[in-house]
Amino acid sequence: MIPVCLYFQVHQPYRLRPYNYFDIGREHRYFDDDKNRALLRRVSDKCYLPATAMLMRLLERHPAFSVSFSLSGCLLQQFRDFAPEVRKAFQELAATGRVEFLAETSHHSLAWLASTAEFQAQIELHRERVREDFGVEPRVFRNTELIYSDDLARYLEERGYAGVLADGVEPLLGPLSPDHVYSAATPGGLPLLLRDYRLSDDIAFRFSNRTWKEHPLTSEKYDRWVGALTGEILSLFMDFETFGEHQWKETGIFQFFEAWVELYLSRPGARFLTPSQAIAALPARDRLSAPRLLSWADEARDLSAWQGNDLQRDALRRLFALEDRAKASGSDTAMRDFRRLTTSDHFYYMATKSYGDGEVHAYFSPFDSPYEAYMAFMHVVSDLEHRVTTPARRSPAARPLGA
């Protein structure tokens, strides 16, 4: 049986409150604490608590079961503030010693696209937080939304990471199977673990889709598909919120997954490997090059979900134009707010793709439209700009058209 590598992304952003032009210079609270608390409570009840409990049962029953997580720093902070029992549930998983925690940016951010210095700073912040909360040192890196390129791999290799995760998409793999460990196009050939997006999305996206020809997906059927694979490692990477949030518990997602793990582990030689174990145990195959940035999002699997239109590009540019001033300001709260604004979700809400993917974006957005998302973000950035440049002085947010 092919070994399986499970990795779950766990993240919630700090969502902005309604913030209009006239709040600039007057209101320095940007984030909607009530909404963020309420959403975290809801996701905790529907997903985090029952899903961690399910994984704990599997870990207790099966020594060959293991799992890995990437928990964003903004979520770990929100656990502390709003849901300490969820933090505890993850700590209990960590205590089994069979759960790996991956490295990422503290704020699930787009920093790699804008500033290496900020990227590095956020990785450090995240490392400290994971060490504090779980007592472990992350060794394998996964960037926000599996954003990946050769440059990123080289950067990580130079800093001693054991490996990196990416999506197993055609531009990277060509005709090759995603079910092996590969080497990045770097001097040292950094090990690369690739998401098998078909089998991952069968669970994460298609599981409850009644128009899918394989619906309903049973654990037996899924096990047959896994059993038919000929590669060396099956990487199932998905949002942890798949359990109970993206796929409601009424769809049977919990029972399906638990039953499949049981069924799979009943096969001879079946075992789960964490990313570090997979990298250590398996040979790194072909060298794969990604000159351009890839990701796991939308149909395009590129950056278009966050940087696909002028609004998104303008917002990122305007935000990072404040980086140096925010750092120089010496204000912890200004720096904290700056970092919370680097989170990819803010840019995702501004996507204006109108077909297919656009519907997915709308589902996740707290805003009425991408334009509302952009306006709120830009007003907040304007206020932050005032805070880190000339405190107490007020000037127009930008130059009017034609002026």
Partner: protein, 410 residues
Amino acid sequence: MFGWEYPPHVTGGLGVASAGLVGGLLETGTEVILVLPCHPFAAGHPLLAIVDSGEVAAADDRPHRKRFLLRLRRVPSLLRPYVTETSYQEDFVAARETGTTFRSLYGPDLATEVLRYAEVAGRIARRERFDVIHAHDWLTYLAGIEARRASGKPLAVHVHATEFDRSPMGGNAFVSETERLGVSTADRVIAVSRYTADTVSERYGVPRERMRVVHNAIDAHESVGAWEVSEHDPLVLFAGRITWQKGPQFFVDAAALVAREIPNVRFAVAGSGDRLRPMMDRVAAHGIERHFLFTGFLPPAELDRLYARANVYVMPSVSEPFGLTALEALRHGTPAIVSRNAGVSEVVRNVLRVDFGDTNDLASKILSVLLFRPLSDALGAGGRSEVARLSWKDAALKCLEVYRELSVER
């Protein structure tokens, strides 16, 4: 088809929409007999016949009141498609003074005209050959009902607005009762938006299965030059009838907030109506007269030039069945801010929406569009391409579908 306004006489969305729909029907090869109260102009299309009901009435001077079965009490008020307190009289006087083609049919009492139009409709219906009757807005509902009675042909009434949109308290009883009669007698009710369908169904108790939504549209046209008024100053545009329904006071209040932030901003108000004077008073009360330009009613070509020049179009209507002017602005790539409930927002996504009374939010959005170039570009380009996909022919095809349903049911 019974209409009230048709080019070259158009004072608002009803005239534009009727003309658009007639054009769309002709494009599909449908023959249209268009009955108008007064229209001494050629039809200009082989499939279109225009019947001037005034001519019919004049040619037939026999007493016909007995054959007219509808009995309605006349109210001594001045009415027009867009009922306001003084506008009808103003128009009437203006038309008489300037010697334009407004003739006897538009008398000082519009209720009389509506009833006379209806009487003549019966005779026209007996004389002409047709399959379906289509009547636009309350002014023509009685005509449609008379034609239905006289011919036995099915009637579709087209609701471009209701009296509940036009007036805060449900407005004029003659108008609303005429509307009630029209929508309850008709075999089908066509509404210009889901918003309007909801209004008709809630206010007049029309079952939803008898209603269809056919959104208004807009056709492509030649690009026009832009007004060259203070080219370097940001320009915010309000266009349309200046009535309670259109929320002019919210525009002015928001303008005052915007003017504080952008000293060289300009506001153009194109249109006229019974709230023009109160609107001007409000501008003066805010002390922002120097930012304002009141153009009065503009002919379409001039209005187009203003749309093209404006940096943002604002439509803060209290109640807006559709809001064609927003499509006109978007056709020029001018970003639009519209009321959340406006029917037009059911067909375009690239607009900003506001609650009409939230002037703080409205001002914030005007400022955002003026200050953030990528926002203004995205709204303009996105809106323009959405609008380019709309056509009156598609609206006409939906009407044809309604006609077919009615023919099958007969």
